[in-house]
């Protein structure tokens, strides 16, 4: 009896191993880059880590299937390499010879990808499921494009500058005009003199208008 059970167990594990092989139609290859991701704080990949992986994957299957009793034994792993890459397949909880469909496994992994990643302190890039593309995070696009805000600030400053300069020039002109009309009566006579003596390049200096000799000499 005991022998029969033993043989059955061996057979079942062998059968399970046969289910899992590289390039299995319902399996996925997993690749971990622990050293690249964690550098000095990298942990060594051993049997315990593998157990954790199988457990998290069982957890993922449970959450996806709504509570079906997936166990660590339902996750079959094979073809482990020093890269740390291996293949795995998932067997049904009740019938260990039936493999769960590829698409279901993919959906389960996708749904709990974050939890799986954080269990190993890795990211989508360092814990790869070959064939399951990582979820692309769309870049955050705020409602008002940020550049328009900067543009608004710059244009506001420039517009304010234009207005200020125009207003100050108009005010200065008005002040000059008032000053001119005020001083005109006082400065009329000497101004005529200076204009006559002034450096005039456009015209020709006409001697007869000179003020040099107020009294014509005989």
């Amino acid at each position: 009896m005991l022998g029969q059970i033993f043989v059955l167990l061996c057979l079942s594990s062998a059968w399970a191993q046969q289910l899992c092989m590289p390039e299995a139609s319902d399996g996925y290859k997993v690749r971990l880059s622990i050293n690249t991701a964690l550098g000095d704080q990298a942990y060594v990949w051993n049997e315990n880590e593998m157990f954790l992986f199988r457990a998290t994957l069982a957890f993922a299957m449970r959450s996806y299937s709504g509570g079906q009793d997936y166990n660590v034994s339902n996750i079959v792993v094979c073809a482990e390499t020093p890269r740390v890459s291996f293949w795995f397949v998932v067997t049904a909880p009740l019938n260990s010879s039936r493999l769960i469909d590829r698409s279901d496994v993919e959906e389960a992994v996708r749904k709990s990808r974050n939890r799986i990643n954080s269990a190993f302190l890795l990211t989508d890039r360092s814990l790869e499921f070959i064939g399951i593309p990582p979820i692309l995070t769309a870049p955050v696009t705020p409602d008002t494009p940020q550049w328009l805000i900067v543009f608004g600030v710059v244009m506001g400053a420039v517009g304010a500058g234009i207005v200020v300069l125009l207003v100050t020039s108009v005010v200065e002109k008005k002040r000059k005009k008032n000053k001119k009309s005020g001083d005109e009566d006082i400065e009329e006579e000497p101004r005529e003199k200076t204009e006559g003596n002034g450096f005039a390049r456009d015209g020709v200096y006409n001697m007869s208008f000179s003020d040099d000799d107020p009294v014509t000499q005989m």
């Binding site: 593309p133 692309l136 420039v158 002034g198 005039a200 015209g203």
Partner: protein, 619 residues
């Protein structure tokens, strides 16, 4: 602001002090081209060896022309048209040609500033928008056009320009570029509202700020890994290249366009000087500082390009390492960048077949260094990509684009002055219209005309304007300028004017250059340039995503109507020279054949008859 001492007749504005004048001239000469054209030329023409033709061209062609323009403007105290009219009415066309070229250059140059503003506005985002690809429509992957090229290329060609596949498809006006262009013109206008009074103050910032930024970049760039590689690559002299005549031609044209002579802007600036001012020193200073800035700017640019090549090389090697590690299932990080070659050799020996099966990229540092660019490609694609990899990318991007903006702005001042000063001197507008209004109208007209550049095919048009407007017409104008001053006005008159202004006559070096060397050089450069351009089949690179070798640019020939426009652009600015000469000859001849009246306003017939009688009596 200092008005002229005599309040009656001359109200010519003046510089507050000499520093303002020098900074304006330096700012005009030092433009974006110093930063994005000279390093490229240095690189493709054998690094340090290029400096020899460059310096020879500076000494024998650049400085004499510069000195000539500054002296002429200071002596005649008018803008470009007034100056040439004063020398001889037949030469008025030279001034008009300068004005037309300045106007056309204003149009496209400010478009470059609009693009710089666009990038500047986007530099405040984190992460920088040209660092990653956007997702495609159904969110399953990245945008295909972006993936095939690079995110920086995609941002420039698609999100900024939204470029059409060729020049014939115009596309529509792009509102984002229109508002950037409007803001660029508004900034230029704000600096010009009060003429050189306001411009002279702004120029303290726009002329000095780029040097600050270049220094900061220099310090930062030299500490980046791979900087020395870039510098060595830039400056390693290749003496063989000096045998290639193209190098000499490019050096002469680079100096000529870099100094911004023949635009009329320098003449206008020096016309606001006091009459006795040492323009010889000014010319030497401006010319030398311009070339020194080019060199000084080339150092951080190439350090950063070396850093970029280094980063690209490292990521290429990392990709290969990953591919090998995944294929051979080695432990992660067994192969590192250091022992990569060693491993590759070992694997090639043990399992060459498998190695061939792995898709390895060829990683060669030289190829990455050779991926240089000039012009907009350098600033908006290559450099912005490099900035992304630097820590604190936003700050460097903001600094870089602000520097480009202030370099371009100070050059725009000279361009616009080359248009406004002749208008004022010719008294084309009634005097009750204030100068600020004239400036506003010119800015508005130029803005409306520049809207072509905001369409889908805008970049192609900018390239056309850049290559054909700012080249042959300027060379012709400069040639006529030097002939006019030295042979029509006369070397003797000119020497006396310089003696009056600077206190010493020009020495034998200047005389030799003005009379023989510079005109000869200009003529040779002009003829060779025209011949080389005519021989080249006019094609232009287009960004066509449907092209089979995309992301390489597809070379397409210019359609006939565009070619006609190119010819027009090269010929129309130069046309006024013969036209005005002819007009003056015909007019003069007609006037001479009619009455023998003296043109002096205070002369009347009685005066003249008396003189003739007196001479008759004496005889």
């Amino acid at each position: 602001m200092g008005k002229a001492e005599d309040s009656g007749v001359e109200e010519r504005p003046q510089w507050d002090n000499k520093v303002q004048y020098l900074l304006t001239c330096i700012g005009f000469a030092v433009g974006i081209g110093n930063v994005w054209r000279f390093p490229y030329l240095c690189q493709i023409y054998g690094g340090g060896a290029f400096l020899i033709p460059y310096l020879i061209a500076l000494v024998f062609e650049g400085l004499p022309l510069l000195y000539l323009e500054l002296a002429i403007g200071q002596r005649f105290r008018m803008g470009s048209i007034g100056v040439w009219n004063s020398i001889s009415p037949l030469l008025g066309g030279v001034g008009i040609a300068s004005m037309l070229v300045s106007l056309l250059v204003c149009m496209f140059y400010n478009t470059l500033l609009a693009w710089v503003l666009w990038y500047l506005f986007h530099s405040f985002q984190n992460p920088l928008p040209w660092s990653q690809c956007p997702l495609n429509d159904n969110l399953t992957g990245y945008n295909t056009e972006c993936v095939k090229s690079t995110p920086a290329n995609y941002f420039w060609y698609r999100e900024t320009l939204n470029i059409t596949p060729d020049i014939e498809t115009s596309g529509s006006l792009h509102w984002w570029l229109v508002i950037c262009l409007a803001s660029a013109w508004c900034v230029v206008y704000v600096c010009f509202i009060k003429g050189i009074e306001s411009m002279g103050k702004v120029v303290y910032v726009t002329a000095i700020f780029p040097y600050l930024v270049l220094t900061i970049f220099l310090i930062r760039a030299l500490t980046l890994p791979g900087a020395t590689v870039g510098l060595v690559y830039l400056f390693t002299p290749d003496w063989e290249i000096l045998k290639n005549p193209q190098v000499w031609l490019d050096a002469a044209t680079q100096i000529f366009f870099s100094l911004s002579v023949a635009f009329g802007g320098l003449i206008a600036f020096s016309s606001y000087n006091p009459e006795r001012n040492n323009c010889e020193m000014d010319a030497i200073l401006v010319g030398v500082i311009n070339s020194a800035t080019s060199l000084y700017g080339a150092i951080p640019i190439f350090s950063i390009l070396g850093f970029k090549a280094n980063t690209a090389y490292n990521s290429c090697v990392k990709e290969n390492i990953l591919a090998l590690t995944n294929h051979f299932e080695f432990s992660d990080q067994n192969i590192t960048a250091e022992n990569y070659d060693h491993w590759l050799e070992y694997l090639n020996r043990t399992s060459p077949g498998e190695v061939a099966g792995v898709d390895l990229r060829l990683c060669d540092l030289q190829t990455f260094l050779d991926q240089s660019a000039s012009g907009t490609g350098l600033a908006f694609i290559v450099f912005s990509e490099a900035v992304v990899s630097m820590p604190g990318a936003q700050i460097w991007a903001i600094l870089f684009f602000t520097m480009l903006f202030s370099l371009g702005l100070s050059s725009m001042f000279g361009n616009l002055e080359g248009v406004l000063a002749p208008i004022k001197d010719l008294k084309l507008v009634p005097t009750w219209i204030p100068d600020g209004l004239v400036a506003a109208v010119i800015c508005l007209i130029a803005f409306l005309m520049a809207l072509i550049f905001t369409m889908g095919s805008g970049n192609y048009w900018v390239e056309i304007f850049n290559s054909y407007v700012g080249s042959v017409p300027l060379l012709i104008v400069a040639f006529f300028e030097i002939i006019a001053v030295i042979y029509i006005y006369g070397m003797k008159n000119f020497s006396e004017d310089i003696y009056f202004m600077t206190g010493k006559k020009p020495n034998i070096f200047w005389k030799a250059c003005w009379m023989v060397i510079s005109p000869l050089m200009l003529l040779v450069v002009l003829i060779t340039y025209v011949v080389v351009q005519a021989q080249k089949h006019p094609t232009y690179p287009t960004w066509n995503p449907a092209y089979e070798l995309f992301p390489k640019t597809e070379l397409k020939p210019y359609p006939d109507w565009v070619f006609a426009i190119i010819i027009l652009l090269s010929v129309i600015p130069v046309l006024p020279i013969p036209l005005v000469a002819l007009y003056q000859l015909i007019c003069c001849r007609m006037k001479k054949s009619s009455a023998h009246t003296d043109l002096s306003p205070s002369c009347n017939d009685g005066f003249e008859v008396e003189t003739q009688q007196q001479t008759n009596q004496r005889a």
